[in-house]
């Protein structure tokens, strides 16, 4: 076991691909990569964010975090279940966002390390405080993208 995640950062393109595939297959949504400056500008217009965290353990240990605006999550919820676009409570929304993060993380690890077994933790999802945004947490190799024209960010961190 190792806590070094540095090698994993080189697979950020695969991580972006995992986001695209999960969005297309589970949400019927489009993903577009964004340059850092434009992404930061888009994030400035968002108010409330949800952030999901999935831990992974294997040859490398770490966490993958995924942040998206709360109302985007609401839209995704309807697409995920193929139902009407009705307001849902926090519990089902958090469950769905956690499952999306889980699918992105699992898909990314499977493609990056097909010959290794990784165990994922149950996703932890939180509504972030007012004024919070993901930009300050994103390194050079984080995934900055839009999901149906709204910002979504994915980044990796060492296991705490």
């Amino acid at each position: 076991m190792s806590s070094q995640i540095l090698p994993l950062l080189d697979s950020s393109d695969v991580l972006a691909g995992a986001l695209t595939d999960v969005a297309e297959r589970s949400l019927f949504a489009f993903v577009d990569p964004q340059p850092a400056d434009l992404f930061a500008e888009r994030c400035g217009g968002e108010s409330t964010w949800l952030c999901a965290e999935v831990g992974f353990r294997g040859e490398h240990d770490g966490v993958m975090r995924c942040a998206l605006p709360a109302d985007v999550a609401q839209e995704c919820f309807a697409a995920f279940l193929g139902g009407p676009d009705e307001a849902a409570g926090d519990a089902p929304i958090f469950d769905m966002v956690g499952e999306l993060a889980n699918m992105i993380c699992g898909t990314w690890l499977t493609r990056t390390y097909p010959d290794q077994v990784y165990n994922l933790s149950h996703p932890d999802v939180a509504r972030m405080p007012a004024g919070w945004g993901p930009v300050a947490y994103l390194g050079d190799r984080a995934v900055r993208a839009t999901l149906n024209d709204r910002p979504v960010a994915i980044w990796l961190a060492a296991a705490s």
Binding site: D21, V22, R25, S26, F77, F80, L81, G82, P92, D95, M96, G98, E99, N102, M103, C105, G106, T107, L109, T110, Y113, P114, D115, Q116, V117, Y118, N119, L120, S121, H122
Partner: protein, 137 residues
């Protein structure tokens, strides 16, 4: 395979969906309902331990299980089913984000009929259910 046919008529499949995400269980249930196969009772469990309780009390033809779950993982569930030997005809399908060769090898001796990677397109689930039904006739 479960006995899904009686005098040419296809008996509805009774299925058990095991996933720690209620939304994923709902999604799988919905997709199963869209497939053009007769689905009978649909049971749900949030982990392997709950799934064992359902198996002990209900007649289940097909089990669809995730791998990474708290309390009892999908792999542990499949091992427990093997150890008990009480459900030899139970069709076992894995639905997981982990599609690695290493994971597939890990479950290769656990009589898994099909391995579906999440995220999956609805038609993949439909094809799996169609194959299960056809194989049972």
């Amino acid at each position: 395979m479960p006995d899904t046919s009686v005098a040419g008529a296809v008996r509805p499949l009774s299925i058990l969906i095991v996933d720690d995400s209620a939304m994923m269980r709902a999604m799988i249930k919905r997709v199963a309902g869209l497939a053009d196969v007769p689905i009978g009772a649909v049971y749900e469990a949030a982990n392997g331990a709950e799934a064992i309780q359902v198996l002990e009390t209900q007649t289940i033809h097909a089990l669809f299980t995730d791998i990474n779950m708290p309390v009892m993982t999908g792999t542990e569930l499949l091992r427990e089913i093997e150890r008990r030997g009480q459900w030899p005809d139970l069709v076992r399908v894995i639905i997981s984000t982990d599609g690695s060769a290493a994971r597939r090898e890990e479950v290769s001796d656990l009589h898994v009929k099909c391995y579906v990677e999440k995220p999956f397109r609805p038609e993949v689930m439909r094809d799996v259910l169609t194959d299960l039904t056809a194989a049972g006739q």
